[in-house]
C-alpha cells in the first residue's frame, strides 16, 4: 500500500483529471417501460410449438376440461403429462373431467397478492374437488364470507387478453347456480 500511495500524486498524468478538470460524462437510457415478457407471465405458452400438452389447452378452448390418462395402467393425472409417473409409459390419452365439483378448501387473497393479480385483489382461490382429481382454481363471483366447505361450483373459461402473441385460455370456477 505504501508504495502505491507514494505514486498517487496530483502531478501524475495517469491519475489526474483532464485539462478541463472533468471526466467525460454522458447520459445513457434504459427503457422506462417494456412489454410483459412471456417468462414473467403466469400463464403458460399454450401452442404446440411451445408445449406438448397443447391438446389440454385446445380442449379447454373448445369448452372441455380434460386431462391425461395412461392407456397402459389407466392412471389419471392432473396436471396433464406426457409421461405417466406411475408406469413411465408415454402413450397417454385425453379424457374429460367433470365440470362440476365441490369446494374442498378456500381462502381469499387480500394481501401479499402477486404481480398481475394485485389489482384484482381480493379474490377467492380454492381447492376444487372434482372427484377423480383436485385442483386449485380461482372462484369468481364469490366472497369468502359467503362460502362453505362442500359448496358446489362449476367450470368457467376465461380468455386471456394480453401477454403472449397467441390467444390463450384458462379455467376458473363459479358458485353453482350462477352459471345458468
Amino acid at each position: 500500500m505504501t508504495d502505491q500511495q507514494d505514486t498517487t500524486d496530483s502531478t501524475d498524468p495517469g491519475r489526474s483529471s483532464d485539462a478541463n478538470g472533468s471526466v467525460p460524462r454522458e447520459t445513457v437510457s434504459i427503457p422506462s417501460e417494456i412489454e410483459l415478457p412471456d417468462l414473467l407471465d403466469f400463464y403458460e405458452r399454450q401452442t404446440p410449438e411451445h408445449t406438448q400438452i397443447a391438446e389440454f389447452y385446445e380442449n379447454l378452448d373448445d369448452g372441455r376440461l380434460t386431462t391425461t390418462r395412461c392407456t397402459d395402467c389407466g392412471e389419471i393425472h392432473f396436471p396433464p403429462r406426457i409421461v405417466c409417473p406411475e408406469c413411465m409409459a408415454d402413450d397417454l390419452e385425453y379424457v374429460d373431467l367433470p365440470h362440476k365439483g365441490e369446494l374442498f378448501a378456500f381462502s381469499e387473497s387480500r394481501g401479499g397478492t402477486p404481480l398481475g393479480y394485485h389489482d384484482t385483489s381480493p379474490f377467492v382461490v380454492a381447492v376444487v374437488d372434482l372427484g377423480e382429481i383436485k385442483l386449485s382454481a380461482r372462484i369468481d363471483d364469490a366472497r369468502y364470507d359467503d362460502l362453505e366447505i362442500g359448496d358446489p361450483v362449476s367450470l368457467k373459461i376465461v380468455d386471456i387478453e394480453g401477454g403472449s402473441a397467441s390467444e390463450r385460455v384458462f379455467y376458473r370456477f363459479v358458485p353453482k347456480g350462477d352459471t345458468q
Binding site: 374442498f104 394481501g111 401479499g112 398481475g116
Partner: protein
C-alpha cells in the same frame, strides 16, 4: 462413510427491511460468522455451500456461490455449490456440507444463507409473484396462489377436521413474537398480544398479518467441521446426529398427500430420529426450531414431528407445552413469525440458534435450561418437501 460432523459456531447479519444489497448482506453474514469463530478464517474453508432461493429474481444475479467466495476471500479447494430448495434452501446447504464432511471429502465448510427480498413497497407484487413460482406455476401459481391462501387452506382444513381454533393460532404467533423480542437480530422485536393478532389485517382468511412470517433481508452463516478439526476449535460444538428428508411424488395441488397434515414431515423426522437414536421425541428433544412460516404450520408440525398426536397440535400450544419452559421449547429464537424469513438464511439461522443454545450464548432470557438435544425443521414450496435435522451436545 461416515465421520462425525459438528457445527462449531456462526454469526448473522441483522435481519429486516435492510438498506443493503444482496452482496452487502453476504459480506455482513460472512464477517459475522468468521468473527464468531476466531480460530477459523477464509483460508481454512475447503467447501462453500450457499443457500439462496431467488437471487435471479430478487437481485438479478445467478451463480452466487463463487460471488460469495470472492467477497469473503475464500479459495475453494473441494466443493462449491448454491442450493435451492425454496424455503429449505439453507437447511439443504447445511445438509450437503454435512454429507461432504461425513464422507471424508473435506474437513471445513462455510454454510451461508443469503436472501434479499425487500425491494421497496412498490415492488412487493413482483416479489410475491416470484414466491408464487415455488408452486407449480402453470397450474397453481397461475391462480394467484401465493403462500398466504395456500397455508390458509391448511388452517381451514385443520379447523374443519380437528376443531383447531382461531385462538390457538394466535397463541402460536404470540409465543413466537414474544420470543423474538429477546433476539437482537430479529426483524420483529415487539411483543404482540393474542387479541392484536386477530385485529391485524386479514391477509388470507382465516390468517391475519401476524399469522404470517415476514419479507426479510438477511444472511447467516455457520462453520461446519469434521470431528477431528472441530475439537481443535471448541469443546462445545453442536453435533449433527441425524438428517432426514421426504417428498412424496407430489408438488402440485392434486398430488399433495394431505391438506391437514404433512406425512412428509413425519417420515423425514422418523428417519432423522432413527439415525440419532431418538425414540421419544417429546421427552428427548429439548429445543426445536421449526418452520412456522404461518401460525398453522407450527401446530401441524407439533403433530408430525411426534410431539403430540395428529389433531392435538392446537391443544399442545393451548397447554403451553411448546413454550420456553414447556415440554419442548419450540422456536426460542422467535421463529419465522418473529425473526422474519430471508428464505435461504432461515435454516442456517435455526441451526445456529440450536448451536448457541447448547453453548449457552443466546440471550439469557431465551436460554433453554440444560438443552442437550435439538432439532431443526423446514418445509418448502407447497410443503411438498420436509427436511429435519437433529443436533446433539454429544456426538452419536
Amino acid at each position: 462413510m461416515t465421520r462425525n460432523v459438528a457445527i462449531v459456531g456462526g454469526g448473522t447479519s441483522d435481519w429486516g427491511d435492510r438498506d443493503a444489497s444482496w452482496k452487502d448482506l453476504a459480506q455482513e453474514g460472512g464477517k459475522a460468522t468468521f468473527d464468531a469463530v476466531p480460530d477459523i478464517g477464509p483460508e481454512d474453508i475447503e467447501g462453500l455451500f450457499v443457500g439462496a432461493v431467488q437471487p435471479e429474481r430478487f437481485a438479478n444475479q445467478t451463480h452466487v456461490a463463487p460471488m460469495v467466495a470472492e467477497l469473503l476471500g475464500i479459495d475453494v479447494t473441494e466443493m462449491i455449490a448454491r442450493t435451492e430448495l425454496a424455503c429449505a434452501s439453507g437447511q439443504a446447504a447445511l445438509r450437503y456440507a454435512w454429507l461432504a464432511i461425513a464422507a471424508g471429502q473435506l474437513d471445513t465448510a462455510l454454510v451461508l444463507g443469503v436472501e434479499k427480498m425487500n425491494l421497496g413497497r412498490e415492488h412487493m407484487p413482483e416479489v410475491q409473484s416470484s414466491m408464487a413460482n415455488v408452486l407449480d406455476r402453470e397450474f397453481d401459481g397461475v391462480n394467484g396462489l401465493a403462500a398466504p391462501p395456500f397455508f390458509a387452506w391448511y388452517a381451514q382444513r385443520h379447523m374443519h377436521e380437528y376443531g383447531t381454533t382461531r385462538e390457538q393460532l394466535s397463541k402460536v404467533a404470540a409465543k413466537n413474537k414474544t420470543n423474538a423480542s429477546r433476539t437482537d437480530f430479529a426483524q420483529f422485536q415487539s411483543t404482540v398480544e393474542e387479541d392484536e393478532i386477530t385485529e391485524s389485517p386479514e391477509i388470507a382468511p382465516p390468517l391475519h398479518l401476524y399469522d404470517c412470517s415476514g419479507i426479510t433481508d438477511g444472511a447467516t452463516g455457520v462453520i461446519v467441521m469434521s470431528e477431528e478439526k472441530a475439537r481443535e476449535v471448541t469443546d462445545t460444538p453442536a453435533w449433527i446426529t441425524g438428517s432426514g428428508q421426504s417428498s412424496m411424488a407430489g408438488n402440485s395441488i392434486n398430488n399433495l398427500p394431505s391438506f391437514d397434515g404433512w406425512p412428509q414431515a413425519r417420515e423425514a423426522s422418523q428417519n432423522a430420529y432413527e439415525q440419532a437414536g431418538i425414540e421419544d421425541p417429546l421427552s428427548e428433544i429439548d429445543v426445536a426450531e421449526v418452520h412456522d412460516c404461518f401460525s398453522i404450520s407450527e401446530i401441524i408440525e407439533y403433530e408430525e414431528l411426534g410431539f403430540c398426536e395428529r389433531g392435538e397440535g392446537g391443544q399442545f400450544i393451548e397447554d403451553g407445552r411448546s413454550h420456553l419452559d414447556g415440554d419442548v421449547a419450540v422456536n426460542p429464537r422467535g421463529g419465522l413469525l418473529g425473526c422474519g424469513h430471508p428464505l435461504g438464511a432461515t435454516g442456517v439461522s435455526q441451526a445456529l440458534e440450536i448451536t448457541q443454545q447448547f453453548q449457552g450464548t443466546v440471550s439469557s432470557d431465551r436460554q433453554v435450561e440444560d438443552a442437550t438435544t435439538g432439532l431443526i425443521h423446514n418445509l418448502s414450496g407447497s410443503a411438498s418437501v420436509h427436511s429435519v435435522m437433529t443436533l446433539g451436545r454429544d456426538p452419536q
